[in-house]
Symmetry: C2
Subunit: 361 residues, 2 copies
């Protein structure tokens, strides 16, 4: 009788927990997974026009923001829940946590539920590196990372794998963060150097990544710090009132965005006029728009994170779970009565089962 409480296969949604995501990274290899993510993001950016696109949907509060990011290519649908709470760090909580869903559009049934705290860190690094492969000088070998928090090492590994970066310059206002990154990067054989000032860290870098977490208009990079030919990968300025670059840096640069209507709200370009010219990265990837035109151009990837990146990431994980079924556990998420009209009947039979089980216990 207990089987009446057991869901049908249709009702079960594969769930990838944090532990399983870590196991998956271990099995596939971090380098390989970052490369797969960048390849899928590139492929999905190439077919950008087929996607339903909207700025993410935020609910702001004093302490932070909770957002949902939906998109669809007409066959699949993805949704990410993500929070951003800078004050969490002081409380011993993650600043950013996330989970996501991948679903079929024709039935609306979920195909995968997954942790996305780790996966967001991975896809953010993969997107940054993909953009830099198109935007940085082809000879770029050195990257400065300003802000050595949770995103730092993922950026370093992704840029080594995807861009060919060989040396990382680290700076953080908190030396403990830099020390942590130094230890982690040393273990994977990345040549990382700690600097006492941001000036020194960025001076000889071909690429500058800013990934700080303060929720305010900060000036991580002023105009005098940026030299000709540098590519800036600005990923920490990602919500209204939170930017990292001085406005003058933007005015000297060619600016590339993900989905411009969202970037106008959240990105570095919130500091500029609403019609200031920027180029969406997908146009460059599709060959529709030029990127860097001379060795002296300053390029900025004003990244805030967009739903199509999460779509691509969930798709990669969904494919991997298909090949490694032990990396997910079935979750009884969808009520699936024998007769779809008879949801009440399913409940009633389950209650009858529970009652009779109770009686015989």
């Amino acid at each position: 009788m207990g089987s009446l409480l057991s869901p049908s296969p249709l009702a079960l949604v594969p769930f990838v927990s944090v532990a399983q995501m870590m196991t998956l990274v271990g099995r596939v290899g971090l380098d390989t997974l970052l490369k797969s993510l960048a390849d899928q993001i590139e492929a999905d950016f190439r077919r950008w026009p087929v996607f339903d696109k909207m700025p993410r949907v935020p609910i702001h509060s004093r302490d932070g923001v909770i957002e949902v990011m939906p998109t669809s290519d007409g066959s699949y649908y993805s949704l990410k829940y993500v929070n951003g709470h800078p004050a969490n760090l002081a409380r011993g909580y993650q600043t950013v946590t996330a989970f996501g869903l991948f679903a079929r559009v024709d039935t609306g049934y979920p195909l995968l539920l997954s942790e996305m705290t780790l996966l967001t860190a991975l896809r953010t690094a993969a997107t940054s590196a993909l953009a830099a492969r198109y935007l940085a000088s082809p000879s770029a070998k050195t990257m400065a990372i300003i802000g050595n928090g949770a995103q730092c090492e993922f950026q370093a590994v992704a840029f080594r794998e995807i861009v060919g970066v060989e040396t990382i310059h680290l700076f953080d206002v908190n030396p403990d963060a830099t020390a942590k990154a130094m230890r982690n990067l040393a273990e994977v054989g990345i040549d990382a150097r700690a600097f006492a000032t941001r000036e020194e860290a960025v001076a000889r870098a071909d690429i500058i990544t800013t990934c700080t977490a303060d929720k305010r208009n900060a000036t991580i990079l002023t105009d005098n710090l940026v030299g000709s030919g540098q590519h800036i990968n600005a990923i920490g300025g990602d919500c209204p009132g939170k930017t990292e670059l001085h406005r003058d840096v933007l005015l000297r640069a060619k600016i590339f965005t993900e989905f411009t209507p969202q970037s106008r709200i959240e990105g570095e370009i919130q500091q500029l006029d609403d019609d200031y010219p920027v180029t969406e990265l997908w146009r460059l990837i599709s060959g529709d728009a030029p990127g860097r035109e001379t060795e002296r151009d300053i390029t900025v990837f004003d990244s805030v994170g967009f739903a199509i990146e999460d779509f691509a990431a969930l798709r990669v994980i969904h494919d991997l779970v298909g090949r490694h079924p032990d990396l997910a556990e079935p979750l009884d998420l969808i009520a699936d009565p024998d007769d779809p009209r008879d949801l009440y009947g399913m409940l009633k039979r389950a209650l009858g089962t529970a009652a009779s089980n109770g009686a015989t216990d």
Copy 2:
């Protein structure tokens, strides 16, 4: 060593599966749970102005719609994923499936993940009955239900418990659906009668509930079918292009909505001008606006389902899970490193563990 892959308590989110939701209904009792849901929805509607409110966020496709419904009262945040795919019925899938999340606003950390296919059916019925308690004639004892699908029995039970309805008149274009509802309602002692035509079903009813599933502009109720004094609980017309009432019925009635900007898009009132006067139910509940003024008034609750109802429902379930911890299972959804800055380090240690486990296997 394996404990490095085990999440900390902070990382675990209680998950209520479909089976656990059914067990919860059995333990609390369907009548009692519907009453609790109506009470919480009423309480939350009373403090309507404190909530962040927006129309739900849809992605439409040929086959249906996938929506997310976020809201927050400043302390808690809720999100529902829900699909609506009328064609699913013919494929043996549910037309509507849903799951939801309840989270803390101050940290953005999830407090509860829950199935919401069943819970949506329950909260929809509770909301309908709550509205009817305010809008139907105080002497209402008979309700017609046009459309005897998945929502039908929940409406009948909720109206008995919350409104005092004693007799249910059933009609469906598919007699099998009516027969299914007759069987289910007989078992819970509800006096239900099947009718061969909708005219006969609604003729002597004090309340008419329409809950059909076709995704088109249907005319379930024409003007000649509706008599003075009747309350219409219109819940099936809930997305653009899907309505159930003839426009003339609306023009004779006093119309009540949940969140009007969403109802203008999705509800029966999409047939009316954008400034046609309607009253939001919360105003009536708060004593700010009149409801039924004479025994001859025709009232329409143009219900499409709003995020605050899901918020209230998730809150009730969250409270119940607090008292019955066995009704949820811990889900490893949130990455929670010892040092929040060191997400990569958590991954690295896990990989080290996995590798060394592999070596000793």
